[in-house]
């Protein structure tokens, strides 16, 4: 049973249709990469789930139930547009957000201290929020999102403003939560993170879902007719190869139309070329993104 399910979502603002048709689901223990160009409808979709905007049509279910404020409070939500209250101690600001999620004062304080500590913000707990750097404020907001150990996490651009060390820390935490059974939706433009983190992707363009599936399947489906192989020998003038280039110590060969990878592999073996690795090239998610959005005619 999906932890979160959306079917046929549609939402318009005055004369602008933000979401035309979005249907997706996330299972417990799964990370879904929610992708799409700016203005595609990702944020409106997320806000609809969180009840911040009311959809015009469609069905949203949380743990197979219609969403209520109580069910939504079980979602850890890190919005793209985020901040902290000014002029208060960081610990108090995070505690308050925990209280709004239904925690008692003592619980909220205890968990806020624990999560701020986990995110290396121990020293900032008694500091006023105004004095936090953007990265520190971002981590405090992440702490508030994780405060209730939510079984659904919706993270909109979670790594922006973070340095590589903190990006790694956050990605580790996200994987931990996934392994603990949480259903996680990550909306981001950092495709490399999605490639390594997400189990599945859902790409929205022009308010519609245009690509959906497991990451490897999608990369394969959008793969060019190309192979990638590594060899210590010098290779050139391969028949059936339209373009051969050296990429980071490996060869990337774009095959001519109708030429199969096996043909190239056979040719290499016949020439006695030593081969350390040979694989069909997959599309990067960047490639998938660009191609899918272009095909959808989205004016990004």
């Amino acid at each position: 049973m999906p932890a979160l399910e959306i079917r046929g979502l549609r939402k318009s603002f005055a004369d602008v249709t933000a979401v035309r048709d979005v249907s997706l689901s996330v299972e417990p223990g799964e990370i879904l990469g929610l992708l799409g160009p700016n203005g595609a409808g990702k944020t409106t979709t997320i806000r609809s789930v969180m009840g911040i905007v009311t959809p015009d049509a469609g069905d949203i279910r949380i743990h197979d139930r219609p969403p209520t404020i109580e069910l939504r409070r079980r979602i850890g939500y890190l919005p793209e547009e985020r901040g902290l209250h000014r002029g208060v101690r960081t610990l108090d600001a995070v505690e308050y957000l925990g209280r709004l999620k239904g925690l008692s004062r003592a619980q909220a304080r205890f968990r806020a201290e624990a999560w701020l500590g986990r995110l290396d913000l121990d020293e900032a707990t008694s500091r006023k929020t105004d004095g936090l750097s953007r990265g520190m404020a971002q981590k405090a907001q992440i702490a508030a999102t994780l405060l209730t150990d939510p079984d659904i996490l919706i993270l909109d651009e979670p790594t922006q403003n973070l340095d590589p060390i903190n990006v790694k820390l956050l990605l580790d935490i996200i994987r931990e939560r996934r392994d603990a059974g949480a259903a996680i939706v990550i909306s981001t433009h950092v495709m490399s993170q999605v490639e390594h983190l997400a189990d599945r992707i859902y790409l929205i363009a022009d308010g519609r879902g245009v690509v959906e599936g497991r990451v490897a399947d999608v990369r394969r489906a959008y793969a060019p007719n190309a192979v990638r192989f590594a060899s210590p020998d010098r290779v050139a003038d391969l028949p059936g190869v339209a373009e051969l280039r050296d990429e980071d110590g490996a060869y990337y060969a774009v095959l001519a139309a109708g030429v199969a990878p096996e043909t190239v592999l056979r040719e290499l073996v016949q020439r006695g070329v030593r081969i350390d690795r040979f694989e069909r090239a997959l599309a990067s998610l960047d490639d998938v993104f660009i191609q899918a959005v272009r095909e959808a005619g989205h004016d990004a």
């Binding site: 005055a14 806000r47 969180m50 009840g51 911040i52 905007v53 404020i69 939504r72 409070r73 979602i75 939500y77 919005p79 547009e81 985020r82 901040g83 902290l84 209250h85 000014r86 002029g87 208060v88 308050y96 957000l97 209280r99 709004l100 999620k101 239904g102 907001q141 508030a144």
Partner: protein, 409 residues
């Protein structure tokens, strides 16, 4: 309700923790305490200096009849003239030979009663002040020189309980220091009440604008509904306002009697507590009305600075009654005063000022409160509708069309 209570608690704690709030809340009791302290310590010297200065500077001429015989055989100061009877003295007053006259009552030694009659008392009752000091000085000197018995020692300390009246026997308008407590104190109280209202609503405006400006609003709205958020904010700031009011009123209740005791002629002063429920009704309804207005403004605008500018357009019409205070004070049941108390945006201040000015028109005051009470739920309803959509619109103001659509739902 729990969510609204959490929001209210947060708003209350944040507001009462602000430096500005603490300073403004503490300033009034401290100022009052200093005033009381100054009068308690230096009261006699201040009073003596004033009396001395007034006596020497005064060029008033007074008539005197002493039925008690306290001043018999004594030389009076040059500005005093003895008369044989009151009719002669009244004629002298009519001719302008004297500026006023004193009648020392036959039972003066027991009562201290001296009647002062004058044709006018000055804009602020200053002639009464001069007269009181003049006769006090004369009588005190006489009593002391007579080596009076100890039982009349209180009379030496307070020789005059002056009753003033016009020539026709009616009490003079605005006569005596009691005038201050009849009109000035309620007027000041009305101002303080409205300071509380505007301060609380102002903090609400600041809170809404700040949550929108810092984008924390989206996190908040993922856990509470806009209605719960608005309810919590309104309740929290109301509690903060009440805290401020209590912080002003409670010390005042303790300190004002001490201050009044420093004045000779305010001993029998009473406050009309009957108007308190009405004043509190205006206070509460006024706060709710402006809270609704300010929450709407906060959700419509993109920054606190912009929201302050827009809020100024609401404050200006609301303080019109202050600008017209002379008319309301002069005729609290006149057409202008009643009209202002029936217009919702001016009603809180106009109503309080009418009550302070001693309005007797209970029906029109009831209508005023009724109109305000009917408008408050409407304003709050509109506010929640606009609040819902306005909170998440960043970087641009809502257009009129957006607002109309929000209100229509």
């Amino acid at each position: 309700m729990r969510n609204a209570a959490v929001v209210a608690s947060w708003e209350l704690r944040r507001t009462i923790g602000r430096k500005g709030f603490l300073i403004s809340t503490a300033a009034l009791p401290v100022l009052l305490a200093i005033t009381v302290l100054v009068f308690v310590i230096f009261g006699d010297r201040i009073g003596g200096a004033v009396a001395e200065a007034s006596t020497s500077d005064s060029d008033n001429r007074y008539g005197l009849i002493d039925y008690a015989g306290v001043l018999a055989g004594r030389n009076l100061p040059p500005d005093f003239s003895r008369f044989a009877d009151e009719a002669t003295m009244r004629a002298a007053l009519s001719r302008g030979d004297v500026d006023g006259y004193f009648v020392v009552d036959a039972g003066y030694m027991a009562s201290g009663d001296v009647r002062f009659v004058a044709d006018e008392f000055g804009t602020f009752g200053e002639r009464e002040g001069d007269a009181r000091r003049a006769i006090r000085s004369v009588l005190l000197e006489a009593l002391l020189e007579a080596h009076v018995a100890p039982e009349i020692a209180p009379r030496i300390q307070q020789p005059v309980t002056l009753r003033a009246e016009s020539e026709d026997g009616s009490p003079p308008p605005g006569f005596g220091a009691g005038m201050i407590f009849d009109s000035v104190v309620p007027y000041v109280a009305a101002i303080l009440f409205m300071v509380v209202v505007f301060t609380s609503a102002g903090y609400l405006l600041e809170g809404v604008s700040e949550e929108k400006e810092t984008r924390v609003i989206e996190l908040v709205l993922s856990s509470v509904t806009p209605d719960q958020l608005l309810l919590g904010k309104v309740a929290g700031q109301a509690l903060a306002g009440l805290t401020q009011l209590l912080a002003w009123v409670l010390p005042a209740l303790a300190l004002v009697p001490v201050l009044l005791a420093q004045f000779d002629d305010l001993g029998d002063l009473t406050f009309n507590l009957a108007v308190l429920p009405l004043a509190l009704a205006y206070l509460l309804l006024g706060y709710l009305l402006f809270a609704a207005f300010y929450a709407t403004v906060g959700s419509l605008t993109t920054s606190f600075k912009e929201s302050q500018q827009l809020a100024a357009y609401l404050i200006l019409p609301s303080i019109v009654p202050f600008m017209l205070s002379a008319f309301i004070q002069g005729d609290p049941d006149g057409m202008l005063a009643v009209a202002l108390s029936w217009i919702p945006i001016t009603a809180p201040i106009a109503g309080l000022m009418r009550v302070a000015a001693g309005s007797q028109d209970t029906l029109s005051l009831a209508i005023s409160v009724g109109i305000l009470a009917a408008c408050v739920p409407l304003a709050l309803w509109i506010s929640t509708r606009v609040f819902r959509i306005g909170l998440l619109v960043y970087g641009r103001r809502l257009r009129l069309g957006d607002i109309v659509r929000a209100v229509r739902g």
